[in-house]
Amino acid sequence: MLLPPPERWRLRPTLPGVLLGSLALGLGAAAYNTANNILFIALSVLLSCLLLSAVLAWMNFHGLRWRLCERAALRAGAEATVTAEIRNDKRRLPSYGVWFDLAAAGQSQRAGLRERIDPGECAAIEWRVRPARRGRLRLELAAAGSVFPFGFLRQTVGIGREQEVAVWPAATAYEWSGGAAGWRPQAGEQRAPHGPRGGDLRAVRRYVPGDPPRVVHWKASARARRLLVRDFAAEREEGLLLWLQTSAARWPRAEQFELLCSLAATLAEDLFRTGRLRAMALDGEPVTAARRTEDVEAFLNRLAVIEPAAGVELTEGTYATRHGLMTFAPDGARGVAAYVDGIKTAAA
């Protein structure tokens, strides 16, 4: 009994396949018209080639396994690599010339295996993705296909394996104009400088993943035979609390709100990288300490999807008692400024 192909499985002729089919049709017509067995032989060979092509195409896919490698996040406007891992689980036969379609943001990209995958081996296929804006991006390994072995038939298999990733706000250039923070970049310097760390050494503590490498106390680590880092007093006492208020009343312009997100994200990363970020807060939510990279990434994930809040605007009194409070406010019609303890520190 003939069975229909499984759903999302397609076998379609390519242009050479259509030509071959037409050739077989013509040969068949001539063979039946003339009852000439030479033509019947040629027709039989052509039909068998098509059959062989279909069998080999099936075998090529048989035993192939694939997965979209997990990816934490992307950044708007920045090119990133998305990887799929392909494994050939067949015992003896390699697979050749398989391509995969990645659908992202309504666009499809194709990348293929340039070389064979031997039995039991793995290969990776990479796509370059550049998300246009922050948010959640759905990456879908939409389909796999191949014209192996003879290019007569295009075999495609619908995969539909999806993965949703956060797209962090785009990095933005900003101008550091000085301020109350312990860290003092030169006036007019753009982006976060990597200046000396302020404050005295308070203690030496154990390394926590996310600690910058430069704070590792190598001598103490060597003596203690474990990784120790220097704990500066300024880190605890002078670090900044980045507080982002997303009130729609404050940010009525969409592009200004996007710039706010970009500036907040950029500052959060820069400050954390230089050890100046103590914590982060979003509107009235609890403060999140910025101890590890994951803390900052979680904050950036929030920034990826945040929208102007329609609720009552919170005043700075919420965290007013805190020292080193970084807040944001519109800077003119288009710009955004960051203030530390009410002093304008950065502008974008």
Binding site: N36, I41, L43, C49, G97, A111, R114, R116, A123, A124
Partner: protein, 716 residues
């Protein structure tokens, strides 16, 4: 992209080198099918043959053709093809073949992209198929197989090259090809399991093609187009309407096969075989016999592929021999007929087919350019004469006047007739005349029959006047002239005599060396034409050897030296070229019989075993029989256990834990069972067996048993 493979791979340049090699080979291979078509195309074939090794030696030369040459190439090729057609509009196919060769040559000497390689494949396929159709040669299969292998490999390389990065921009680096290095690389890279698998697949392709060929439904439309009409036959030697002294001897010098015959019953092969082809009723001075206009016009055009001899003497009796002829190209346009028959069936409808069943002559429009198959049904060998029965309407009698009765030739003939002696009966005259001829002349292939003043000018009369040896044409020609001079209507017949039996393929083989000429004389008493073979060594009326029949005949004519290739050719004709709806039905019947036979045998065997067991059980029981029975059961159980254990060991040696594999199989089987009750529990246990740590395993046998129980329950 990255892979973790450790085996070497061919890089893109090497793939392109292979592509170039295969494309060139494919073009050369397909071009060399043209000589088999009988089409004159050496002007393109030779450059193409030279270009193939040159372009393999220096592939980079393919990029040196200037741009204007590329632009001009196709217009020039088309102009040449148009001129070719214009020169001889009736020969379209040769022009088409030469056009194909031109295109192949162009593609061979220029850098090819993917579409150009595809074009080479299509053009090559066209040539191979046309060659096969025109030549019907067994070589076609070899050519087609070689072509298919090369073409599939080329397509595979194209696919891999495309996947690896596509076409390289000219002038590419890959053109600096070093074939020996490439061969080493291919050998190093070759994955032998895959190569063997590919070889197996190709054999599978051949097998599937054979199956498709056999089982493709056949319909008889009786409507031929065909390529043969587009190409005129080659200038063939062989029997024609005009036979001059020495023509038959010339044919005899060719040892090639004239035709082969499949016989329906080899025991019915007669001892004396005369394959009658052409009746020459008019003698032209100078030793030339020819078909008269009257006789030629008596051949009526036939539009059917099956001609029934409605006026014939031979009704289609059951068990009457049916012989299938495979007539080689170029032998003649007249078909050899070994006796009277009821019906002739042609493999293909023939335009311009003419036949006179009363005369016993069937003629094609022209000598076939390829093997021509036909079948004679209801053959009758006992009748000596095939020709017309009614002398009143006998066309031959009107044109059988003696040669210049009153002139010098007539005088010579009358003198010899007197020497032979008067006779009123044709048989008696034939016997006396043959004896007279054979007493005066011996048989020889070489005849010295130079003109002399004291001898007649006509070569046959001159030969009669002397005592030189002669060959069949002299004897038959002289007999005809003497019989006519004596008042008996006579005519010359040409064709073949005898043949050999090929024991390998079990068929008759008649070679050109069996060509022969004999005579027919009209017997007014029986009102039939009698065959008379006056050549020394021949049986005059073909009757004395009739005592030899059946196997003795075959033993006498068996040719043990028949080559394998000859047998192969006959099998090719029999099983492939002549395969038709009837053959398909016969094959289906045979397969059905074989299948039914197997079924019957199996049923009988089972019934026999059942009876044996029943008999065994009915015998009186004692302790020995008990013990024997128990031992046998124990042995069976032990064997089953051993098989199971061996299988598990084998599975373990193959890699992977057999329990995990078995659990995986059961998980797959239970995948569609839904998720309630015991199924969920068992599935969980199976998953633990499949993926979990060994220490956490439940008892595998119990889990598998439970899975089996669930599956059985689901089936109910």
């Amino acid at each position: 992209m990255w892979t973790e493979s450790k085996r070497p791979r061919l890089n893109l340049a090497e793939l392109h080198q292979l592509r170039w090699l295969l494309g060139t080979l494919l073009a050369a291979l397909s071009a060399w099918t043209v000589p088999g078509m009988g089409i004159s195309a050496w002007g393109w074939l030779l450059p193409l043959t030279v270009a193939a090794p040159v372009m393999l030696w220096r592939p980079e030369w393919s990029t040196r053709l200037p741009g204007w040459a590329h632009r001009m190439a196709f217009p020039v090729i088309l102009a040449l093809a148009a001129a070719d057609c214009r020169l001889d509009p009736s020969r379209v196919l040769p022009a088409l073949v030469r056009l194909t060769l031109m295109l192949l040559l162009y593609r061979m000497v220029t850098a090819r992209q993917r579409r150009d390689d595809l074009q080479v494949i299509v053009l090559g396929l066209f040539l191979v198929i046309v060659a096969g159709v025109l030549s019907v040669s067994v070589l076609f299969v070899l050519q087609l197989m070689a072509f298919t292998a090369c073409a599939l490999l080329l397509l595979l390389i194209l696919t891999l090259a495309d996947a690896a990065g596509g076409a390289a921009a000219p002038p590419p680096e890959w053109m600096q090809a070093q074939w020996i290095m490439l061969a080493r690389r291919v050998r190093a890279v070759a994955n032998w399991p895959v190569v063997l698998f590919g070889g197996g697949l190709f054999m599978g392709l051949v097998a599937v093609s054979s199956g498709v060929f056999i089982f493709l439904p056949r319909f008889e439309f009786e409507n031929s187009l065909f390529l043969n009409r587009l190409v005129q036959g080659k200038d063939k030697t062989g029997f024609s309407e005009r036979v001059q002294l020495g023509d038959v001897t010339d044919i005899q010098s060719d040892p090639g096969i004239a035709f082969t015959v499949d016989v329906s019953d080899h025991l019915q092969v007669p001892a004396r075989l005369y394959w009658r082809m052409l009746v020459l009723d008019q003698y032209v001075a100078g030793g030339i016999f020819r078909v008269s206009h009257i006789m030629d016009e008596s051949l009526r055009v036939q539009s059917q592929s099956r001609i029934t001899n409605l006026n014939g003497t031979v009704p289609m009796a059951s068990g009457a021999p049916t012989w299938t002829f495979y007539f080689e190209p170029g032998t003649s346009k007249y078909l050899p007929l070994p006796g009277a028959f009821w019906q002739i069936a042609l493999a293909e409808p023939q335009e311009g087919l003419r036949a006179n069943m009363e005369l016993g002559v069937v003629a094609l429009a022209s000598p076939p350019a390829k093997m021509f198959a036909y079948r004679l049904e209801g053959l009758e060998f006992e009748h000596q004469a095939i020709g017309e029965l009614d002398p009143g309407s006998a066309i031959s009698l009107k044109n059988l006047a003696p040669l210049e009765k009153n002139g010098e030739p007539g005088n010579w003939l009358q003198r010899w007739v007197v020497e032979i002696g008067e006779a009123t009966d044709a048989k008696i005259f034939a016997s006396r005349c043959s004896g007279w001829l054979q007493r005066a002349h011996l048989y020889a292939m070489q005849v010295d029959n130079r003109a002399a003043d004291d001898k007649p000018a006509d070569p046959i009369l001159r030969w009669l006047a002397g005592t030189q040896p002669g060959h069949c044409e002299y004897f038959a020609g002289a007999f005809v002239l003497l019989a006519r001079a004596a008042g008996f209507p006579a005519r010359m017949v040409v064709g073949f005599k005898g043949g050999s039996w090929n024991p390998r393929s079990e068929n008759l083989v008649v070679r050109n060396s069996d060509a022969h000429a004999w005579a027919e004389i009209y017997d007014a008493t029986s009102k039939t034409w009698l065959r008379v073979d006056p050549t020394p060594g021949a049986d005059l009326f073909g009757t004395d050897a009739s005592a030899m029949k059946g196997e003795a005949v075959l033993t006498a004519i068996t040719d043990r030296k028949s080559g394998v290739l000859e047998s192969l050719r006959v099998i090719w004709y029999r099983r492939i070229v002549n395969f038709d709806q009837q053959s398909q039905q016969q094959l289906a019947t045979v397969l059905q019989q074989v299948w039914e036979g197997w079924g019957r045998n199996l049923k009988d065997w089972l019934r026999g075993r059942r009876d044996e067991i029943r008999l065994w059980l009915q015998q009186p029981w004692d302790w020995r029989r008990f013990a024997g029975g128990a031992l046998e059961i124990a042995l069976v159980l032990l064997a089953a256990r051993g098989w199971r254990t061996g299988r598990l060991i084998w599975l373990a040696q193959r890699g992977g834990d057999p329990v995990r594999r078995e659990a995986g199989r059961w998980l797959a089987r239970l995948a569609a069972q839904g998720g309630v009750g015991e199924t969920v529990v068992v599935r969980g246990q199976l998953q633990r067996l499949r993926f979990g740590a060994v220490v956490t395993w439940p008892k595998p046998a119990e889990v598998f048993r439970a899975a089996r129980r669930i599956r059985r329950g689901a089936r109910r």
